[in-house]
Symmetry: C2
Subunit: 762 residues, 2 copies
Amino acid sequence: MKINYSPGILSLLPLFYVGWSDSMLGPSERNLIMEKINKMPHLSKEDRALLNSWTDQRNPPDQHIFKSWIQAIKENEKHFSTAKKSSLIELGLDMAKQSSEQKNVGFQSSAEVIQSLQELEKTLGFEESLQSSLLFETLHWQNQSDGPEHSNHLGDILDGAYADIQGKIRQLLQDPFFRNKDIRLKEAYRERVLAQVKELAKQGLGAYAFPKEYGGQNDPLLNTVIFETVALGDLSLLVKFGVQFGLFGGALYMLGTKKHHDQYLSQTARLELPGCFAMTETGHGSNVRGLETTAKYNRETGQFTIHSPHVDAGKEYIGNALHAKMAVVFAQLIIDEEQHGVHAFLVPLRDEQHQDLPGIKVEDNGYKVGLNGVDNGKIWFDQVQIPRENLLDKYGSVSEDGQYSSPIKSATKRFFTMLGALVAGRVCIALASNTASKKALNIAIRYALKRRQFSQSKESEETLIMDYPSHQHRLFPKLAKSYALHFALNDLRTMYAEKLSSGDMRKVESLAAGLKAVASWHARDTIQEAREACGGKGYLAENGLADLKADTDIFTTFEGDNNVLLQLVSKGLLTEFKEQFQDGGFMSILRHLGDRLSTSISEANPVSRRNTNAEHLLSQEFHLQALEYRENSLLYSLANRMRTFIKRRLHPNETYKLVQNHMINLAIASIESYCAKSIYKAINALDDTDQRKKLTRLARLYCLDTIYERRGWYLEQDYLSGSKSKAIRKQISYLCNKIRPDARMYVDSFNIPEVLLSAEII
Amino acid sequence: MKINYSPGILSLLPLFYVGWSDSMLGPSERNLIMEKINKMPHLSKEDRALLNSWTDQRNPPDQHIFKSWIQAIKENEKHFSTAKKSSLIELGLDMAKQSSEQKNVGFQSSAEVIQSLQELEKTLGFEESLQSSLLFETLHWQNQSDGPEHSNHLGDILDGAYADIQGKIRQLLQDPFFRNKDIRLKEAYRERVLAQVKELAKQGLGAYAFPKEYGGQNDPLLNTVIFETVALGDLSLLVKFGVQFGLFGGALYMLGTKKHHDQYLSQTARLELPGCFAMTETGHGSNVRGLETTAKYNRETGQFTIHSPHVDAGKEYIGNALHAKMAVVFAQLIIDEEQHGVHAFLVPLRDEQHQDLPGIKVEDNGYKVGLNGVDNGKIWFDQVQIPRENLLDKYGSVSEDGQYSSPIKSATKRFFTMLGALVAGRVCIALASNTASKKALNIAIRYALKRRQFSQSKESEETLIMDYPSHQHRLFPKLAKSYALHFALNDLRTMYAEKLSSGDMRKVESLAAGLKAVASWHARDTIQEAREACGGKGYLAENGLADLKADTDIFTTFEGDNNVLLQLVSKGLLTEFKEQFQDGGFMSILRHLGDRLSTSISEANPVSRRNTNAEHLLSQEFHLQALEYRENSLLYSLANRMRTFIKRRLHPNETYKLVQNHMINLAIASIESYCAKSIYKAINALDDTDQRKKLTRLARLYCLDTIYERRGWYLEQDYLSGSKSKAIRKQISYLCNKIRPDARMYVDSFNIPEVLLSAEII
């Protein structure tokens, strides 16, 4: 059925076509649309009546009408250049012009008409650059294929300055020597992993963070890159590698002094001295200050006695416990009954024949969810004597006659400085978590680009599961988050390396804690989703996801329990907040911030809270503002609540307990905001416009998905209107649709060698 | 500091005390409070000024003021009876009266005063029965201990009519013969599990669903109870048990006819004929209609030829593949090139010596995430000949001369009837999922009632982690959901058994699909949270959660992928919806429903959307209405969108693709609403008031947590106001606090023998 529409109608057809394309034109939108249309100067009464009939959700345009629109648009397609495809309005006006050449209607250049069309466009929420491509995509709807683009188009951006070392490790790990498949018995598995760690040590990879004189590179930054990349291989290997060089070696280096370095660091870096890091006790995990192992100084012998007072004061989950010759043991330093807090001590565990030394008892922790190539165990000390020199004494030392001294007066500050010196562990686990997420996304997305299921008819080929919107929704927001985390972790790494030399580590510690929590939960959720997205295939060990899931599961609770870490982050934010406003006093700060927030709610917001314009929704400005607003607002209300409790003289611990959930939410909000800033910073620094465009899509999806996930909060706060929240949902769908053709490119850019994915299905 | 407050102030003190107890009095609440206070007739100007100073969030009542309130309230405590503790207002008036006896102020019985106080109470959102106990709890704040109550107080309600058979199985499974700990090598593990299934068969437990003449009990209902209870043991055992009796035996019984039953059913029930269920193919999982294995009828020989046309048409993930003698094979029935759709055939796999028969090729699927005691494998058929009688011909048969006949004309209907006959599998997996959730909750909650971490001071004992609000928030809503699912699954089970005899299974199929998806995801999330809540201990195999997680992980994708199942549920709802309004035509239905919905939004809602009164928030009425509203509203908008697409003559598959996410949301909403109805139905049938009270708390928590999780949607729809959403959050906290003292009782009521939890930590 060919219908000759009037020029006025034609000018609006492209907008109507896109507006109805997902059949989501709601009743509330109808009134807004008709309001705009009734004001348009170039429409006749008949035009308005017809358009009105097309906005009725209860009686939507039927097949014939819809086809007539398509026909009219396609007819015009030949007339306009692809350059003009950039605007639905231009297209509509062009269509009107083509027809009006016969009819002499000349509103195409009227500023008033153009403005009124633009207003309608905003009401419908179409983005300038998105709209017409969407139009042509839906006009020519078809199952999208994988596309010709199989390149790692963003790979150089992701690798950045670290391409060399990453390339080297990727190459190395592909050697069959590093493959561990289906080794079910822990004993055999552990021996194999030990040999593999030795090989990495031989390559000098364990020593990067150490000074050159001990065989290292003095490069803590590259050290984190190595860890991140070794995470592409077997994670038992990674963890054992981390225990030896990061935890044992790191403690030796960061908490010890020259005498310890001279004696042990080179051996440690070469794995000639296998060591373990004995901090956690059965009874004390998160509460490190409450550790019960004691280290009493004996003035007569000049020795410390390391002792586990009861069974639950034994060290537990200690990696390398069965292979280690020596342990860094965290214990309460006691001199003459006076406690000086937790300190670290070097305690020899085994003799040359690898027999336990007197007073040492080690027990295997047995099988675990995963990481069965790591020999985790429990260790107890029964009055074990060690020389005075074995105290790692950078932050506290004991003289021969039993005098305690420390460069840091406050015991609390000393404790946190010591823990802070070990921050690299959290940075590394955050990075390794994201490596694991990238592997899982790679497997699941590549499988979805091969796997077909269900067809439209008996004749037609089945649909690629990647073409199902629900499948895109399951995987693409997680892909976007892995990208955002990638840049955030890069920023964290850089800041860590800078601050290591310059001093104040508090910001680094806080960020590392927060990013470790967020990245490890992201890995947990992403691997789980990837496993399910591969169905039965995902459940088979041969496809890699089983081990990936099992091995990374502990990342959420080791190197600090995520829930505890997030509370640390919020404590850090509260402290920073207080310091920032130190002069004015706490109350004036609150007043100031409260005023600022209420201004942004009551004044700035009414303008933007209902703004469903796509340009706005997709803008960096909106994303960063919204995420920062959440962070600031949660911080403000938390500070306010805390102050009330404090005024009431509640014990601080009691206060923290009452605001725990609030603190966890704030910490997550601050990390989410940080990730958004990082990815946009990376984008803003790019020259290549195509790379910018491709990365921007992910940044937008990350931000909008995050805001949408938190929409309950934003709506409660009246920061978003209901219609804006719905408009965000639409944009998320559009973005998934735009990302789909490049899906393979996005995962290829992670530069993960196929053999390291160890997945038969891809 | 003792302050003598005026009677007016005293009348309000309890309300102020509770209002400030969590320091969450927001600025928006202040205006509302002052508005009410300014209208109160019994307050002096000074009273009002003082109260005004107490509502300033920026300058909240300090420690001294707060203590003076406590003092005033405690002083009065001796005067009033515990009965009076039921209302904050009565307490306040009582306090005023005590003081006014000297001062002769007599407003205590003024209706106007009481009413104005009640209005303020509503504004503050305190529940009648909750408020005063909260007051006394916070007045006498202390670390709560485990409490004396260690009973399974709700156990008889949960077990209900099935206590006998459950007791028997619980007893049986405790026998050391059924323990499988750390059997790492699949071959050994599988042999052990096979022996265990044989033992269950010996006890007659595999045959309950079969007729008595074949050794059964003709009791499909008890059959599901058995499966649910066997799930307390090793899940490899459960799955192998299910494959043999539920899938193989079930298909034989439900799809076969008397000749098949006579020949095979007794042997099957005794596990003398180990069988497998060969439906899924590598290339076709969810799309069962697209299976590619063929069964061609050969008129000359009177045989079917079973054939796998290519490698991906092989059967995969088939449980019992290595032990089975025979398979039920689903294949495309072809007679003279004509396809009759998928049918089930009995295909012998192995001879007496357990050698593969000619044309049969079986391959081990290898190690999996979990369930390594089950021998999953791949099976290919190379022109395998079977006699005509081996077609399971209840729904379609082939005569000797190759005539096809079926009691069901429509091929589509026939296909779905055949699949529907196998619905018991989904019912059982849903039940087993919830058993797994209960085990995980039991372990995590009992650990949290033992584990202490961090203390207020060096002297005081560390806090039980169950007393941290964040820990309660992690576990209690999941506990509540497991209870709600328990009753929903019970209702499903009953409906299943009823409908089996009476006919129309569609509702049962739809509910089974939805509950299977929701219950298996709940298990996934609950076990994961429990694992993390136990920290490093949760990661150790010795504490049970590792296997529980690994074994149940496949529940989300087998017996139907959850995402696909939920779309089935929504298709069912759409069909039901259409049938319901068949006479009026689709458009009039929509108009009708649309009017009804918009009425409930625009008229009913403004009253309730802002109602933050606790009585309302905690009411069954609000819960059921809100959850049903979401279901109806999503159904309405889905039907509307579908109709628009259909008008446009989009292919139905294309249409479904575009509304996939909408369908998944609708299905989940309908199951959530169903669960709420089920648990309230169970509560309403209870006589025991204490049991009612205890169960009601969980029902409330389940409903409010569900609504709160979906608050983004409710706020978008303007069904909830922002302040109501916040009030719900508060109620969730209060409920967690109320549930805390009974935590042990709630998990003890699951009646899980300690040895079956197989967790060292509890």
